[in-house]
Assembly symmetry: C3
Homo-oligomer: 350 residues x 3
């Protein structure tokens, strides 16, 4: 529990109203009660303030007329809410100890205040920065590096030669540095191309649960600073992901593709191999990115969801589209021959 | 090995024929031999009975005329088969012991007959119901709960504050309670929103291998009773999945979406964020659910598979569809002007 | 470091030039310097040779005129490069020891020179072939088998009754043998069908990180020799994958489907259940394989990526496609009535 005044001070926000209101938690507008701090993320939610029973809210200054109680003023209430969650952080604290059932190679180097939990295995040549956390049953392969204050959740596997920067979070059961999918066709099927590169992850990167980032074939796979990857994302060998790009769950990026800075890929997007995506490219959910995208902007593919019976008629027609286009062209010619002076369709590029 | 009579008694089914037939296993109609019990799941399979060599079959009463041997009568032979598999259960038995290499916090509470295998870590504040199984190298975070008779397979990670009901099964390397993908854009890229909620899983829920269910931002992510989730499913923060809903492999559900009861999502479906799906909604494989579905029924999106050369012609035309529609409208107008008395197309909503 | 002459000898390739060039690493044409060996994978890359500074390259014999330095001659330079990566293998060596913190059942049988790392659990009835590697925190369930010289990376879980052949690689956090997704609908929701079958993996198979291969319902799920599976692939129960087939990341194959030999499925493909794919079928990325494919060839589905505003117009028209087709037909009839002698479109099958 803390007072509204304390929260205002911590967040550096102007307080209007009662600084002594006791706040026990954050809550959405519709669920907040007197001990809760809530927030208005966008103007469209202002109408909810009339019925809101929060002890206080975070609003923009010119939104305050809609609210009669105490409030904190922020130019960006959603960002202020994000910062406020850190004041209510309920994650278990770290022991800052090496558990007796962790296995640390004598040839590994650990900074101060490092936590290594039971069952974790840290191989020779590994370096771990100060304050970092290696969760239970994590594996850190030979010569890998975990930067200061990074958190590696239980069950994650880092192969050899993987470099993770500082202040990163790697969620449970992620795998960084597994072999890229490289094989040369041969008489028996496939000859494995040993993946000789590594993986380099920048600073302040978040990697979701079950996400896989493969090591490079000859060079490294690279994820730049401040990138955020959701759960079950797949990053193939030799991909390069630019700074501040965000990738939602279940998205896959194929080999050697370069994604720019400040991009967002929504969920279950598939990006083909050897492509280049410019900075500030944004891709809709489940989009099939089959070509390079040189211009910033929002992209999409696929079709909308329909009741099955309607969809199936559209889907059948999709297979006839080329024929339909040719019939349309034929009709235009025939009609033009019948009525040569009438205004014909222009710009026909079919 | 057991007799047909014993099986009939266990399943509560009427037996016609020889109760002393020795049955060693269940088998499909096409592969069954004299020591096998088989079953007819649907009328369309009755023709297979002529060549079937099973020792006995499970059939509906009015299907028995197609079969000359011993049989068990069931109104729902597929359900009877499902129940019969439990008589032949070949899964390893549980030791009902805490392995000496498991690590149980002195502040955890375990019911009777609990099995905890080697390498498992159970943190402070955890409660585990009677008869539950915590597999090898599983991690159960602080203050989490596993209900009675639930089975957690090796390598699974449960974060802190995760509640799993009784008689649940969580398959290997699943992750429950990882951080939802919540970040506020800021000057440096992204400010993390600490995910303060938890996860609540009901009773009799099955969760597949590698599946991820994220914790909520402020409230809990909720999966209701009798839900079945296949492998590599992703459930984002604050999703609510209604009772008895089934979700096939590789499907992802984005944040805050509410899915009703008795729904089925086929494989690799993507469901957008903040949507509502009514009860009894059924979604085809790989469908892109980009809007709420307020009516029960079957839905689909996308296009059918074609040989590449045909598909590419359709795909090019898809990009010209709006122009084609306009040309079609122009033609209709021109033809109407030429032949004003002829019957024009009605209901044109383009 | 090794000499070009040694590499030529190891790969069985003809050397032209200086056998004493010291080679420290492999590198792409554009990055290679004097101590690097590079390669020309396809004729299209020959123009890069002019500026290439590699110590030596691997080329086809009739490509050598484009290169003035030392070179190795190969009919298949890409395959020669694949073989060369094995000469520069930088993966950590195996200890060939059972770590004191591994847990091996007294009823398991291990061949010579087997490595079992810390935290691994090997259950009763397991057999492990000579030279195999069981990584840290791996779980090998009862009565399973790992063939000679196979490598199982950390965190992988093999359930009971799983058979992996020799010279296989299973990457980290993969799960083999979890329950297939089999349930019979019943009054309460679902009755579990205990999955009584197992999994059989052939020899020289590669399985990617986080990939899941479910056990069969009554029979086994089968992956034949020389199959390569990328990361986060899902293979459902009773699937059969033919020899030498390659499946890229994030692809899912639903239950009981049979995929032929020498097929390739690109990334994020979804294959429906109970289908048959012929030998030499190749499927484009994100394709929805909703029917059996009886002819070899390349297949695709979906639509191309477009800027959102253009795409949304196409997507709206997709929903109107059936109506458009009918209007087109109406126009053809009307025009035919106006101009009965003009040449009408033939082959209209709408």
């Amino acid at each position: 529990m803390m007072t509204l005044g304390h929260i205002a001070e911590q967040l550096g926000l102007l307080l209007k109203g009662d600084a002594n209101v006791e706040i026990t938690a954050l809550a959405p507008l519709s669920q907040a009660t007197g001990q809760h701090l809530s927030f208005v993320a966008k103007a469209g939610s202002l109408s909810e303030l009339a019925d809101c029973r929060a002890g206080a809210v975070i609003v923009k200054g010119d939104w305050a007329e809609h609210w009669t109680g105490s409030y904190l003023v922020s130019d960006n209430p959603y960002l202020a809410y994000a910062k406020a969650t850190h004041l209510f952080d309920n994650r278990p604290t770290l022991s800052q100890k090496i558990h007796e059932r962790a296995l640390i190679s004598p040839h590994a180097t650990l900074g101060s205040d490092v936590t290594v939990d039971a069952g974790a295995v840290v191989e020779a040549g590994v370096t771990i920065g100060e304050g970092a956390w290696i969760g239970a049953n994590v594996y850190v392969g030979q010569d890998s590096h975990i930067g200061a204050h990074s958190r590696v959740y239980p069950g994650t596997v880092l192969y050899h030669g993987v470099r993770v920067g500082h202040h990163c979070t790697v969620h449970a059961n992620a795998v960084i540095g597994a072999d890229g999918f490289g094989f040369a066709p041969c008489a028996d099927g496939w000859t494995k191309i040993v993946q000789l590169g590594g993986v380099r992850i920048g600073n302040w990167v978040e990697i979701g649960a079950g996400t896989t980032i493969d090591r490079g074939a000859l060079n490294d796979t690279v994820v730049d600073d401040n990138v955020i990857l959701d759960d079950q994302v797949h990053i193939a060998h030799n991909v390069h992901i630019g700074a501040r790009t965000g990738i939602a769950a279940c998205t896959g990026v194929a080999g050697s593709t370069v994604i720019g800075q400040d991009c967002t890929l929504a969920g279950m997007v598939g990006v083909g191999d050897h492509l280049t995506l410019a900075d500030n490219v944004h891709v809709n959910g489940q989009c099939r990115v089959s070509r390079s995208l040189t211009e910033p902007g929002l992209y999409a593919s696929g079709t909308a969801i329909q009741p099955y019976s309607k969809w199936s008629r559209s889907a059948v027609r999709f297979e006839q589209l080329d024929e339909m286009a040719k019939r349309l062209k034929t009709l235009e010619k025939q009609l033009g021959a019948l009525a040569p002076s009438s205004s014909r369709h222009r710009g026909d590029a079919s």
